[in-house]
Amino acid sequence: MANSKTYKSFGPKAILIEWKPVINLGILNDIIDFRDKIKNQKSGLFLDFCVGYNSLTLLFKENIADFKKEIEGLQEIDAFITTSLKTQNYQWEIPVCYDLEFGIDLKEMSNLSNLDISEIIEIHSNNLYTVFFIGFLPGFLYLGGLDSELFFGRKANPRLHVEKGSVGIGGQQTGVYPINSAGGWNIIGKSPINFFDADKEFPCFAKSGDQIKFNAISKEEFYDLEKLILVNKYQLLKTIIHD
């Protein structure tokens, strides 16, 4: 294992495993791989698992009687288990309308940088983004892979209302607001896709390790898709990611 880890207790029922504090795909893959190994080896022990940029938190069902012993058990899994049932990851095609009606901060961003609006859109929709984890709100994807040309600081005055589906850039991150929410990101477009629906068998289609491709669509296509999605007649496009 090239990526060394530290283990910390996190209250009486959780262990926090941390990798070095950088955001990169190698660490993410290592975290997911380790999580899957732990799940396979000791599934009955845990209530839940929480992935962060450089961390994995294991939530135990019971108070942990002996942290040292528990951590040694995890280190053994880390050292000796080489195979695990790998979670299948997908690449998702997410339609986004970057029209100025939705991309309400595009003009300002263009003024603040030396990029035309069309260049901002092109760079944003050309890159492939990786889902690191989901947090902040149900269905809010933390995405890695934003081009450094598109790093724009958060707005000094956050908006009290950002519409569901809004695609934004905040600092070095990009993402989609899954519900109406307050928010300080620069809004560049809007997607008609539901990122969270508690009534679905899988309320959030994406998971850690998946990839997101934003595809630019016109306003007409946006409204057509919105109608299809409302009546559950739109199937998201996905492709299997092979290692």
């Binding site: 209250g11 839940d48 929480c50 962060g52 984890f133 989901i134 933390y142 009534d199 959030c204 998971k207």
Partner: protein, 283 residues
């Protein structure tokens, strides 16, 4: 059915919460004071899993449309049935059309109303706890009809109440463990955490309690990582936030303390302005 005549200030349905959905960013939720909600269920011989009403600061009214037994635990909001006072932490028989009212606050911030067999609103992601964009509403509202179990009410009802340890409401010592980033604090800041008498600001709700006092620091944010109910975050402004049951699943502020399970329950019964100190316990 329970007909909600007056919903009050902030009434929700809660159970043990949504556990196992952190990967989708779904908060755990559940009763703020699980100790009291579990007590109410156990007095009725209900399973802990049954959903109860969580009533914040009283002033609400409910009418029963069938005979059942109920139990009220947690805060004392002077409950009455048909205007006659009833005892907390005891099994109470109610009849069709009886009206249960809550009024004056005697102690505590949240009270729990359990009914025999539980409240049977729809489950979403294996829980009945109300949460915005997961359940169809996020608050119980006046006029709501809440389905309840139609199990036969027991004929015999004992008059004895379970004695509740009052320190659950009065104690101003909040037990906690050192959080994952505790060691980033210098000695003085660590001492401040345990020496300051903290008070709850008016920015407090089911997601978290912001505290008024400050601990000056220049500790950098962490890369976004898991947070839990009971995690105490230190913000760059020096204010502490104690995360409660509806907290997000991840956060970026340093996690300096982690409350014990029962400390969360105790804090859930405190209100704006309440003062308390953190005391350290070893894992």
């Amino acid at each position: 059915m329970i007909k909600v005549l007056k919903a009050g200030f902030y009434t929700t349905i809660q159970d043990q919460g949504r556990i196992g959905f952190a990967a989708m960013g779904v908060p755990i939720s559940g009763a703020m004071d699980l100790y009291s909600s579990n007590l109410a269920n156990s007095i009725l011989n209900n399973s802990f899993e049954e959903a109860v009403l969580e009533i914040t600061f009283g002033v609400c009214q409910f009418q029963f449309s069938s005979k059942t037994s109920i139990c009220i635990s947690g805060a004392d909001f002077s409950p009455t049935i048909n205007q006659l006072p009833v005892v907390l932490n005891s099994k109470i028989l109610v009849n069709e059309k009886d009206i249960l009212s809550f009024g004056k606050i005697n102690f505590g911030a949240r009270c729990y109303l359990a009914v025999k067999g539980g409240i049977l609103t729809a489950q979403k992601l294996s829980s009945r706890s109300l949460f915005k964009n997961i359940t169809s509403s996020s608050l119980v509202q006046s006029g709501d009809l809440l389905p309840i179990s139609l199990v036969k009410a027991e004929v015999k009802v004992s008059n004895t109440a379970v004695k509740m340890n009052q320190s659950h409401f009065d104690s101003n010592l909040i037990e906690c463990f050192k959080g994952p980033e505790f060691e980033l604090l210098n000695t003085q800041q660590q001492q401040q955490l345990f020496e300051i008498l903290f008070s709850i600001s008016n920015d407090n709700n089911r997601m978290g309690y912001k505290l008024n006092e400050t601990i000056t620091n220049n500790i950098p944010s962490i890369l976004t990582s898991a947070v839990l109910p009971g995690t105490v975050q230190l913000t760059p402004s020096g204010k502490l936030i104690v995360l409660m049951r509806d907290c997000q699943v991840t956060g970026g502020y340093p996690r300096v303390l982690q409350l014990s399970a029962n400390a969360i329950n105790k804090l859930a019964q405190k209100k704006t302005g309440s003062k308390f100190s953190f005391i350290s316990i070893k894992p």
